[in-house]
C-alpha cells in the first residue's frame, strides 16, 4: 500500500475510531468510575469500622483486587461466571469488572483522605450536635476531597486506558475498533498510532480538568 492510500485510510478511520472513543471508551470509563467511587466509599468506611468483620472483609477485598491482574478479573466475570450459571453480556461484564477494580484501588485513597482530616473536625461536629453520617458528608468528605482529587485523578486516567482490556471481552471500544480496522489492511502501525493519539488527547483533557478542580478546592478549604 502506498503512502497516498495510507493517508486515505487514516482519514477514513478517524471517524470510526472517534465513535469507539465516544460511544465505547468514554461511557465505559465514566460509568465504571462513578460506580467504583461508590464501592470505594463503602469499602473505606468498612475498613475503618470498629466491627472486625466489616474491616476484615474490606481488607480482604482490597487485597484480592490489588493482588490480581485486571485482565484476569475481567475474564473471571465474562468467561468464568457462566460456568456457575451467571451469564453477563460484554458491557455489563466490563462495567462490573472495572467498577469493582476501581473500588478496590480508590478505597485506600478515600480512607487516607478521610483520615487526613483532623480529628478536631469530628469533635467540633459532635459538640454542635451532628451525628457521624452528617459529619462525614457535610464536614469531612468535602475536606477529604481536596486530598483525594490528585490520586483519584490518577486512577481515572489509568482507567481510561485500562478500558482497552474490554476489547478482550468483545466490547467495541476504540482499541477494538482499531484492531478491526487494522486487520484487513495490515496497517497496524497507523491504526494503533491513531488510537494512541485519541487516548492521549482524552488523558490530557482530564489532566487539565484535574488542575482546575484542585485550584477550586484549594480556594475554598483552609490550607
Amino acid at each position: 500500500m502506498d503512502s497516498s492510500s495510507s493517508w486515505q485510510l487514516a482519514k477514513d478511520s478517524l471517524w470510526p475510531l472517534l465513535q469507539g472513543m465516544v460511544f465505547g471508551t468514554i461511557p465505559l470509563t465514566a460509568i465504571s468510575f462513578a460506580l467504583g467511587l461508590v464501592v470505594a466509599l463503602f469499602l473505606a468506611i468498612a475498613r475503618m469500622s470498629k466491627l472486625w468483620f466489616l474491616s476484615a472483609f474490606a481488607a480482604a477485598y482490597i487485597s484480592v483486587i490489588r493482588g490480581t491482574p485486571l485482565l484476569l478479573q475481567l475474564f473471571i466475570i465474562f468467561y468464568g461466571l457462566p460456568s456457575i450459571g451467571v451469564v453477563l453480556d460484554p458491557w455489563p461484564s466490563a462495567i462490573l469488572a472495572f467498577s469493582l477494580n476501581v473500588g478496590g484501588y480508590a478505597a485506600e485513597t478515600i480512607r487516607a483522605a478521610i483520615l487526613s482530616v483532623p480529628s478536631g473536625q469530628w469533635e467540633a461536629a459532635a459538640t454542635v450536635g451532628l451525628g457521624k453520617s452528617a459529619t462525614l458528608t457535610r464536614v469531612v468528605l468535602p475536606q477529604a476531597a481536596r486530598v483525594a482529587v490528585p490520586p483519584l485523578s490518577n486512577t481515572l486516567i489509568s482507567l481510561v486506558k485500562d478500558t482497552s482490556l474490554a476489547s478482550a471481552v468483545l466490547v467495541t471500544e476504540i482499541f477494538r475498533k482499531a484492531q478491526e480496522l487494522a486487520a484487513p489492511t495490515f496497517q497496524f502501525f497507523l491504526m494503533y498510532g491513531l488510537a494512541a493519539a485519541y487516548y492521549w488527547v482524552v488523558s490530557q483533557t482530564l489532566t487539565v480538568i484535574q488542575g482546575r478542580l484542585e485550584r477550586r478546592l484549594n480556594r475554598k478549604v483552609a490550607k
Binding site: A124, V128, G131, K220
Partner: protein, 252 residues
C-alpha cells in the same frame, strides 16, 4: 444560685497513667469557673469529660436535666443529650474548613437540632455581629485571623443556645496581639449571665471574671474557691509555686 453543672467523683486513666482522680465540683447557674494548672495537669481532659469528648472510667456529670454516669455503658442518645447542654470553644478553634463563618454557625442548629434554615441564618448573623464580625458571614476560616476564627468559634457555640459554655484554652494558640479581642468577647458573655467553664492560662482574666477558680495539679483539685482566695491568697504550697511560676513577679 442554683447548681447548673455538677461533677461527682470523676476518674480517668490513660493506660497506666492516672489522668485525674475523684474530681468533684459544682458550677452555679450564671457563674464563671476558671480551671487553672500547669500543662499536663489534666485540666483539659476534665473539661472534655463534661461533654463526653473524653470518657472517664467512673464518675457522673450532670448538666441541667442531662446526666451521664461514666461507669455504665453510654448510649449515643445519652451522650447526645449531655452534649446538647453545652457549647464548646476549642484551643485550635476547630472551625469547619469547608464552610463559611455563617455556615460554621448554622450547621449545628440546622443539621443537628432541626432548626429551620432561615431562623438559623438570622441567629447566625446576629451572633456574628455580637462578636464583632458583621460582614464576615461569607468568609472561610482560612481567610480570617486567629482572633476572628476564635470569635466565630464562640458564635458557633452560642448558636446552640447551650446551658453552659466550655472554653478549652481559647487564647493559648493565638498571637499575643489577638488575645485581647477574644477575651473581651468572653468578658461580655460573663457579664451577660452566661454560665462558663474556662480552662485558661490567663491569670488576670481569671481574676477579673471568675467566680470560682479550681487549681488542678497531678489530676487533683488542689485548691478551689473564689478567684480572690485562690489567686490572691492561696493556701496550698503547690498553688503558690504554680502562681509564682506563671506570673514571674507574683507576690503572695
Amino acid at each position: 444560685m442554683s447548681t447548673l453543672l455538677k461533677v461527682t467523683n470523676l476518674s480517668k486513666r490513660f493506660g497506666e497513667t492516672q489522668v485525674f482522680e475523684n474530681i468533684s465540683f459544682e458550677v452555679p447557674a450564671g457563674s464563671v469557673t476558671a480551671i487553672i494548672g500547669s500543662s499536663g495537669s489534666g485540666k483539659t481532659t476534665i473539661l472534655r469529660s463534661l461533654n463526653g469528648l473524653e470518657k472517664p472510667e467512673s464518675g457522673t456529670v450532670e448538666i441541667s436535666s442531662a446526666k451521664v454516669d461514666y461507669s455504665s455503658r453510654l448510649s449515643v442518645k445519652t451522650l447526645a443529650a449531655l452534649r446538647s447542654q453545652s457549647g464548646m470553644v476549642f484551643q485550635g478553634n476547630n472551625l469547619f474548613g469547608n464552610l463559611t463563618a455563617l455556615g460554621n454557625i448554622t450547621i449545628g442548629p440546622v443539621k443537628g437540632h432541626g432548626v429551620n434554615r432561615l431562623e438559623a441564618d438570622q441567629l447566625g448573623r446576629l451572633l456574628l455581629e455580637q462578636v464583632g464580625l458583621a460582614g464576615k458571614e461569607g468568609s472561610y476560616p482560612h481567610e480570617l485571623s486567629g482572633g476572628q476564627q476564635q470569635r466565630v468559634g464562640i458564635a458557633r457555640a452560642l448558636a446552640l443556645k447551650p446551658k453552659v459554655l466550655l472554653f478549652d484554652e481559647p487564647t493559648s494558640a493565638l498571637d499575643p496581639e489577638l488575645v485581647g479581642e477574644v477575651l473581651s468577647v468572653m468578658k461580655r458573655l460573663a457579664k451577660t449571665g452566661w454560665t462558663m467553664v474556662v480552662v485558661t492560662h490567663e491569670m488576670s482574666f481569671a481574676r477579673e471574671i471568675a467566680d470560682q477558680v479550681l487549681f488542678i495539679d497531678k489530676g487533683q483539685i488542689v485548691e478551689s474557691g473564689s478567684a480572690e482566695s485562690v489567686l490572691k491568697n492561696p493556701q496550698q504550697n503547690r498553688t503558690k509555686e504554680f502562681l509564682q511560676r506563671i506570673i514571674g513577679d507574683y507576690e503572695i
